[in-house]
């Protein structure tokens, strides 16, 4: 790093100016009869310290701090080159500390601070049955249907229950992950199929022809993204399902026991006696979207009323059963937040320790450099200059 060109020219000119002064003074002495050596010596003496004059004059130009900074940077670079081990250790220590922090911050940012990819995500609430020893328990299907019908605070409410099937008829038989969902599930979240249609209330009951939604990755993998898939059938556990639509791959919601799946089926078509029994649960939970302007407390009060009426109506099955409402974001964050913040705190300390270590290195080195500092201050370096 060198001084800018104009600055170097200015320095050269000042040098020339002072030299011309010396020369003229000497010539005058020679004219008065002094010998050239005598004259040169006398002018020097009269003039004083040329370097000092140069320096004080040059101070008048301003920008001195920039020049000193450049000097210090050059000096620093030279020291680093002379001492590569020290430089490497300091840089590496800091890099480790900073790197760990950055990468963990990305995770925290992605999980906690980013908004959910749904319209008005703050309106999305997950629902559970609360019962003795189970704060967030599964909901029985008859109870869910009553919740859905009786509540006054939710714009829509949908149930979901994970399951899996064997897919046959496409290459080799394969296990596919599936989710039984209410017809309103995707419309509640605000997700639209990229092709075909969503489930309708017509699909979501017993005795109608089997239909399915498939995910975009599943469509790509198993059917090579064939556009005519909508309207064809797939065979799951030996039953044929008509594919009515494709759910885009950017739907990748994960929370609690829900995972975005390969296949979705209408939950109302599940013809299984126990599933329709009020006192039996099958890992089914629900998600709802609050009506605009409804608060979580209002929804909780509303659901408390709904469940207490059900408890009175079906004392055998529903005694002591309430509804637990947890906002979707809180649900997602809850499982990981405390762990993540703990980790973030931990790597924060790692960075702190890294800084302390580097500071120690500097301290150790500055004792070794005390002689240099003494020389510098003897030559008139200010305190700030030395520290820098």
């Amino acid at each position: 790093m060198r001084l800018p060109l104009w600055r170097r020219r200015q320095q050269d000119e000042l040098h020339a100016e002072l030299q011309s002064h010396l020369q003229m003074a000497a010539e005058e002495r020679i004219d008065r009869g002094e010998s050239p050596t005598e004259a040169a010596q006398a002018t020097r003496r009269e003039f004083g310290n040329v370097e000092l004059v140069h320096r004080t004059t040059h101070d008048q130009w301003g920008w001195l701090w920039l020049e000193e900074l450049l000097q210090d940077l050059r000096y620093g670079a030279r020291m680093l080159r002379k001492n590569p081990g020290f430089a490497a250790i300091a840089v590496l220590t800091l890099a480790l500390g900073i790197g760990a922090n950055t990468s963990l911050f990305f995770v925290v940012n992605g999980v906690i601070l980013n908004p959910l990819p749904f319209p008005n995500p703050e309106q999305l609430i997950t629902l559970y049955e609360s019962k003795l020893h189970f704060e967030d328990g599964a909901i029985s299907y008859p109870n869910f249907l009553d919740w859905q019908r009786d509540n006054r605070t939710f714009a829509s409410m949908a149930a979901f229950a994970p399951t899996s099937f064997s897919l046959t008829g496409v290459e080799e038989a394969d296990q596919v992950s599936a989710e039984r969902i209410s017809a309103e599930f995707f419309s509640t979240l605000g997700v639209k199929p990229m092709a075909g249609r969503d489930f309708t209330a017509e699909d979501d009951r017993l005795g109608v022809s089997p239909v399915a939604l498939i995910s975009e990755p599943f469509w790509r993998e198993k059917f090579g993204s064939a556009p005519e898939i909508v309207g064809r059938t797939i065979s799951l556990d030996g039953t044929s399902y008509l594919v009515v639509g494709i759910i885009p791959s950017n739907f990748n919601l994960r929370f609690w026991n829900f995972r975005a799946s390969e296949v979705y089926l209408p939950i109302g078509q599940w013809n299984f006696d126990l599933f329709r029994t009020r006192n039996t649960v099958f890992g089914m939970n629900a998600i709802g979207r609050l009506k605009p302007g409804v608060t979580l407390a209002q929804a909780r009060a509303d659901m408390a009323g709904v469940t207490s009426r059900l408890a009175a109506e079906y004392p055998e099955a529903d005694k002591g059963i309430g509804a637990s409402l947890i906002p979707l974001r809180a649900r997602i964050v809850k499982d990981v937040a405390s762990l993540l913040f703990l980790l973030l705190g931990a790597v924060g300390f790692v960075l702190l320790i890294a800084c302390v270590n580097v500071a120690n290195l500097f301290l150790a080195r500055s004792t070794g450099r005390s002689r240099e500092f003494a020389i510098k201050s003897a030559l008139g370096a200010g305190r700030t200059r030395i520290v820098r």
Partner: protein, 119 residues
């Protein structure tokens, strides 16, 4: 103490600036010429230290009260010649009248008897 010291420096600086401007008033000069002129015109009383002269010249140049050009002297030497700018001329006139007031005022204070020989 520090304050008094600073005041003295300021006064000296201001005086030197005035002397330089006064010298350039008679025509463009290089640094050496200016120092010789100040010395000659003060009857060898004022000797300007180069360590003060060049910083002052460059400071005045930066303040745009004087301007500088490189010229070749009679004996084929490259010299940096300073001249007054319009602004410098204007400021010199106002500063000189102030200086004259001060020096008149100082001269008007009668010297206490007996101290004259001691100074």
């Amino acid at each position: 103490m520090a304050n008094r010291y600073q005041n003295r420096i300021e006064l000296l600086q201001g005086t030197l600036d005035l002397l330089i401007l006064q010298t350039l008033q008679w025509g463009p000069q290089h640094g050496y010429g200016a120092s010789q002129a100040i010395r000659a015109n003060s009857g060898d009383i004022l000797q300007v230290d180069t360590g003060s002269l060049y910083p002052a010249l460059h400071r005045l140049e930066r303040q745009k009260r004087i301007a500088a050009d490189w010229k070749t002297s009679e004996n084929e030497q490259r010299v940096r010649v300073y001249r007054l700018t319009k602004r410098g001329k204007r400021q010199f006139l106002s500063e000189r009248s102030r200086w004259e007031q001060i020096s008149d005022a100082v001269a008007g204070v009668p010297n206490p008897a007996g101290r004259e020989s001691g100074s």
